[in-house]
């Protein structure tokens, strides 16, 4: 899967998560988005797994804190 596809997919799911449009080029973090709370975070992880067919460990789930990190993690898992 291309990096741009991953970034756009992540952005789409982040849009649902934070409740506003996010573009693939935009970087956001949990700290910068007050609506990105822990329930939303768990939901985001589950949606990412649905969308990209990957699975995160508990450590990874807790550690993913921004859009770039998420995109990189999916890219890495997709390559594996």
């Amino acid at each position: 899967m291309k990096r741009s596809e991953i970034k756009n997919g992540v952005a789409e799911l982040l849009s649902i998560t934070v409740g506003r449009p996010i573009t693939g080029n935009e970087s956001i973090t949990r700290e910068s988005e007050p609506t990105w709370d822990s329930l939303k975070h768990v939901q985001l992880i589950l949606m990412l797994e649905e969308r990209f067919g990957v699975q995160f460990s508990e450590e990874e789930m807790a550690g993913l804190r921004d859009s770039d990190e998420i995109a990189r993690a999916i890219e890495k898992k997709s390559e594996a």
Partner: protein
């Protein structure tokens, strides 16, 4: 790894469990510890400390899984069916995959299309109100809701339609139910309801210390957390006690998840739980174990440290779908009473008038639909045919095609001809003596569906494009499934057939002979707790013959059944044609030297036999005599359809004027024709059904 805070989410209007009541519970001396720590047993000194031992993914200050909406439609939760207007039912559009009409579009492609469309709308500030009326959007939305593996992201992008009623659901739980609660909305919206979930702390002890009496109550427990205890008698008694305690705090429905586990004791526990719930008014079990059975290994996900639940994403979604489409609607809404099905391209492929009985094609999928319809019939739902066809062709189909699995006689009503479907629907409603809003119409023709929608806006509709989707929606259509069966539902089918024979008798006899020849037997039971549910149903559902329109909930009926100097009478009726079951209810109480009758409710199935006055006189006479009461006083409330009750009350009491809200009081001695009523040609007996 980030250390996630071990705190439960506390919703703003429900405080942490802090002051439990007396039944709290020695059984909680030891409880299996938090998720992810199997085998680790925590000693609980104070049940309230327990909440601190439960792991959760959510941060202390966060409000989870709450669908926030500034609009306050109703302050209270929707808890009684009568308070609800029948929702404007959605048209269930079905999936295009496999359909005759849109074979070129795959489900996957359409799902992609909706994602793109929803993303586009987010970007341009999409107007939900306009969008909700777009048929294409509805079509795709229904595909998403019915998909075998529906995706969380797709659900969370669906647009909430306008005009929904808020229903508060207070969840008492010991795990993160938020992942279920967050996807219930898109399903419950189809019932015209918008859920607002209210979460307290995790509480294995079920302290119920801050019950919101206006909210539907849900108990969602992971029973595996209780270790060895759930299989014990002690635990069962404790749990039943906690349910009774919760029941005493609110009149709203209580929904209890059963034990979804591979543990062998779960099956017996769930049977016992069913019995416990049946004994409590307006308490329902939710068969989560059934969802586990269908999903198998996919049900669990042990990454509990972060998610706070052993439910997998798929299981959470499936539970949300079941809760939103089946469990909550069946606890809150009156049941759909009939399913009227089209024939061509709905119960088979082909056109009967052109292909003939031998030419139409009945697939295994169609046969599954037939079986599903028969299952519903077995639960007391009428089946009807609503088709533009020729009666003779239909008769030939039923006669010649063994693979058409529904017998002609199993359709309780029919409208087969060339008039409009709306007219046909009204005809069926008349035959079944129910409203058009209580009939689900299943039809493959979108044009017909649209016309019905315009002519009968309150009628629930299901657009059938292929058997698989039709089957799904027959199993999941809101207010059609999930109801507790009782005797009255099965008797209703027989009664309808008998009514035709009664009409024939009536046409050929005088009125006096008619009553005599019917050989009517009336059975009375005073304060019968075992009939609590049926009595509440009569109060809530009867429209034509209901004097008080009090719409008593099951909990209110249970209360009056036990209250001193209250007389709640169940009336059963049978005649030479059939047993109609419990068809009448009288809710009365002592008021000085009068018997104050809050409500008389008689099922429309019992009307037309001209015995309403004897029926009520025979119910009241022994109570008046035993308690030496001089007067009878009837409360009257006017509704849109209870003119028959008003006319009866005027005739029974001799009152010339009966206004909305008035109490008609009269000396029993002065009731016109009192003697004739109690000496009518009917047999009456009292039974002890107090259990």
């Amino acid at each position: 790894m980030e250390a996630l805070l071990l705190r439960a989410v506390v919703e703003d209007d429900v405080e942490a469990a802090g002051h439990g009541d007396d039944e709290l519970v020695e059984v909680f001396v030891s409880v299996a510890a938090a998720f992810g720590a199997a085998g680790n047993v925590v000693k609980i000194v104070d049940a309230f400390d327990f909440k601190g031992d439960v792991a959760t993914a959510f941060n202390e200050s966060e409000i989870a899984a709450r669908i926030v909406d500034a609009r306050k439609v109703q302050d209270a939760a929707v808890g009684e069916a009568h308070e609800l207007a029948v929702p404007h039912w959605p048209i269930m559009m079905t999936r295009a995959g496999g359909s005759r009409h849109r074979k070129d579009i795959t489900v996957k492609a359409r799902a992609e299309a909706i994602r793109g469309e929803l993303a586009r709308r987010r970007g341009i500030g999409y107007n939900r109100e306009i969008g909700s009326t777009m048929p294409l959007l509805n079509s795709i939305e229904e595909e998403i809701r019915a998909a075998p593996s529906v995706r969380r992201a797709d659900l969370l992008q669906l647009s909430e339609p306008p005009g929904l009623r808020e229903v508060r659901v207070q969840v008492h739980r010991n795990y993160a139910f938020e992942l279920v609660g967050s996807v219930v909305g898109p399903f419950l919206w189809l019932s015209g309801l918008r859920p607002v979930f209210v979460y307290g702390d995790y509480d294995d002890s079920l302290s119920f210390s801050n019950v919101n009496p206006d909210a539907v109550q849900m108990i969602a427990l992971d029973f595996d957390r209780y270790g060895e205890k759930p299989g014990t008698k002690e635990f069962g008694e404790w749990f039943a006690g906690r349910l009774r305690n919760l029941r005493s705090k609110t009149d709203k429905p209580i929904i209890v998840c059963n034990w979804a586990s591979v543990d062998g004791r779960a099956e017996k526990f769930n049977r016992d739980l069913e019995r416990i719930a049946e004994r409590l008014p307006s308490a329902f079990t939710w068969n989560v174990a059934g969802i586990l059975q269908e999903m198998g290994d996919r049900f669990f996900d042990e990454r509990t440290t972060v998610t706070g639940t052993r439910l997998s994403n798929s299981a959470s979604i499936e539970m949300g779908r079941n809760l939103g489409l089946v469990r909550l609607p069946s606890a809150l809404l009156p049941r759909i009473k009939a399913v009227a099905v089209d024939l061509d391209n709905t119960l088979y492929d082909g056109v009967l008038g052109e292909d003939g009985a031998s030419g139409i094609r009945i697939s295994a999928g169609h046969q599954a639909v037939h079986q599903e319809l028969l299952r519903l019939r077995g639960e007391g739902v009428f089946l009807a045919v609503l088709s533009k066809n020729d009666e003779r062709d239909f008769a030939e189909l039923c006669e010649k095609r063994a693979d058409f699995q529904i017998k002609e006689t199993e359709f309780s009503a029919r409208s087969i001809g060339w008039h409009s479907k709306a007219d046909g629907l009204r005809k069926i409603a008349e035959q079944l003596r129910i409203g058009t809003d209580a009939i689900l119409v299943v039809d493959d023709n979108l044009g017909e569906i649209s016309q019905l929608r315009a002519a009968c806006p309150d009628t629930p509709l299901l657009h059938s494009q292929n058997p698989e989707q039709t089957l799904f929606w027959l199993r999941h259509y809101p207010a059609l499934n999930g109801y507790r069966a009782h005797g009255a539902t099965a008797l209703r089918l027989n009664d309808l057939d008998a009514s035709r024979e009664r009409e024939l008798l009536r046409a050929t006899t005088t009125e006096a002979d008619y009553v005599r020849e019917m050989q009517i037997e009336l059975t009375y039971a005073l304060n019968p707790m075992s009939l609590c549910g049926r009595l509440a149903e009569l109060s809530r559902k009867t429209n034509q013959f209901n004097t008080g329109l009090r719409r008593f909930s099951e909990v209110e009926v249970a209360r009056s059944l036990e209250a001193p100097e209250h007389f709640t009478i169940a009336i059963g009726m049978r005649d030479r044609f059939c047993d109609s079951g419990i068809i009448g209810a009288v809710f009365a109480r002592k008021d000085g030297d009068a018997l104050l009758i809050d409500e008389v409710a008689i099922s429309c199935r019992a009307l037309g036999r001209t015995v309403e006055s004897p029926m009520i006189a025979l119910a009241l006479a022994p109570i008046l005599e035993e308690h030496r009461l001089q007067d009878v006083a009837f409360r009257f409330r006017e509704g849109p359809r209870n003119l028959p009750a008003r006319m009866w009350l005027a005739a029974f009491t001799g009152a010339k004027e009966i206004n909305d809200g008035s109490i008609i009081r009269i000396s029993w001695e002065e009731v016109p024709q009192r003697e004739e009523h109690v000496k009518a040609s009917v047999t009456a007996r009292w039974e002890n059904l107090a259990g």
